[in-house]
Symmetry: C2
């Protein structure tokens, strides 16, 4: 047994007017609770420090940059890093990152138990669109404010296991898990901000959205025999509702813990990283069973090309 006790720390809504300090105080409260419950690691959502700002259409670069962090930790998040170090708990959370040379990414990080950043991931599958779209019920401008991640899907030796990250929409793409699976990933951490209604299909509500969410996570976990920790920012942000559905999924594809609310809520599960072995050594022993000579289109072709005849 290599047990990592994990806290999935769901955040309730963050209004547009809310400051980072208030949010960090809420994150520290969840962290304290997690430490008291014996957690080795606490995972927070995507864009944990602010409202889900890509729903707002902005044109002024200076206004856009107010949503981004230029250094991490910074003044607002230092108290969180300090408390994590003090408690000896590793953390992972997402934020909007502006690099020194002016690039913008939707990023998440992982620290070790001493509060040092040991992993960084930049979201690759950006959903939505880049220009104002009047046909949508609401905007989803991730392709406007972020560039696609440039770090691939790394896997890190950390916390006694092989750890990976992805963010929100990445979880719907089997390539995400597979690239990490091929590096032996034992735990995938991800945060998400997912509107409760499909902006392009008004009859696709929260029930379908939660179904697709769990389906993708569970299939990714099973087919790569890995733990998946998926953490929501949930609830009503300035009239825009985000679904909950924070879950911990085991390497067998089963949901073993799940939040009940749409507010700040912690769920905890002892995750045995050795439970990933059976699947990796039998039905998903990639070395014995994968046939890469027939997978060529996956990397040679981006879009759909129907057969010519």
């Amino acid at each position: 047994m290599r047990t990592l006790t994990v806290g999935a720390a769901q955040l309730g809504p963050i209004q547009k007017a809310e400051g980072r300090q208030e949010v960090v105080a809420r994150m520290i409260a969840l962290l304290d609770d997690a430490a008291a419950k014996g957690c080795d690691l606490v995972v927070f959502p995507e864009l944990a420090l602010t409202t889900f700002f890509p729903r707002w259409y902005m044109t002024d670069p200076a206004e856009i940059d107010t949503w981004f962090e230029s250094v991490m930790p910074n003044a607002a998040t230092k108290p969180l890093f300090d408390r994590a170090r003090e408690l000896g708990v590793a953390i992972s959370f997402g934020y909007a990152e502006k690099t020194p040379d002016g690039h913008h990414f939707n990023t998440s990080i992982l620290t070790d138990k001493a509060g040092a950043i040991v992993g960084k991931y930049r979201k690759i599958h950006l959903p939505g669109h880049s220009e104002f779209d009047e046909k949508r019920a609401f905007q989803h401008l991730e392709k406007r404010y972020f560039e696609p991640g440039d770090l691939g899907f790394p896997v890190w030796h950390a916390l006694g296991g092989l750890m990976g990250m992805c963010i929100c929409n990445d979880r719907r793409w089997p390539e995400t898990y597979r690239v990490m699976g091929l590096q032996g990933v034992e735990m995938v951490m991800l945060g998400f901000n997912t509107p409760s209604v499909n902006s392009q299909k008004s009859d696709e509500g929260i029930e379908d959205r939660l179904f697709h969410h769990k389906l993708s996570l569970q299939a990714g976990a099973y087919q790569n025999s890995t733990w998946v920790i998926a953490v929501a920012k949930a609830g009503d942000e300035d009239g825009h509702h985000l679904m909950g559905g924070t879950v911990i999924v085991d390497p067998n594809g089963k949901v073993v813990a799940e939040t009940k609310t749409e507010g700040d809520e912690l769920i905890v599960h002892p995750c045995d990283l050795d439970a990933t072995r059976f699947g990796k050594e039998t039905i998903f022993d990639f070395k014995r069973h994968r046939r890469i000579e027939h997978y060529g289109l996956i990397t040679s072709q981006t879009g759909v090309e129907p057969p010519s005849v």
Copy 2:
């Protein structure tokens, strides 16, 4: 609406001593029923003509070859092809194929409504092992009797849509659906013979096995926005139990029809191929969202290689 009415024709068990003629008579009965119910297409299981022979360890090539078909149609299956042509119903089924130059494959075919074979697929992801394994509760010798398929995952313009096939264990591999998804597949047909118990894990019984089966099908359907028709051979074959779970899955990932028994049983669903469009044009618009520059490991590397540091 481009509606294709599909019959998923589950077969109950076929004992080792049972002849192909008896099985073909059962298939024709299902086909007649399907035609009466307005089906355009009837899908039968993997290795539909015989018992699931890879559970038996054999060393004599002549004995092994008794389970294979050298031509298709042949004397045993001609009545099935004739009846399908007479009824104007397309069919798909699986069989063990021996080629003129002596290769052995686990194969499935698709005919048009005139009974002409328009598509052939050879199973790529062969599960199990090639030598007698005394550690297993029972044998699963697909890697002994078959070579991996050499035709890739083709998609065909047929029956007014874009049709693809895979077989049994292929359905657990997201690469299977993705390679077809990249060709615009609208319907994936597959048959399976799946033991109700994991031969390497006695506490993994039928409930878990059905869960993994449906999870993989539903994720493949949703993530490629395609119909999936999955058809079992089920029940007790000479003391070896195969699970049922014949299902039709819509492009939204929902199970819309499912068998209730482990015997010969037909389920029918009118499948609108245009229902695949919404997903393909929005969240799974591959051209806009896929990032192949980060998928390299999927085709460059077969097995797991953990990061060096």
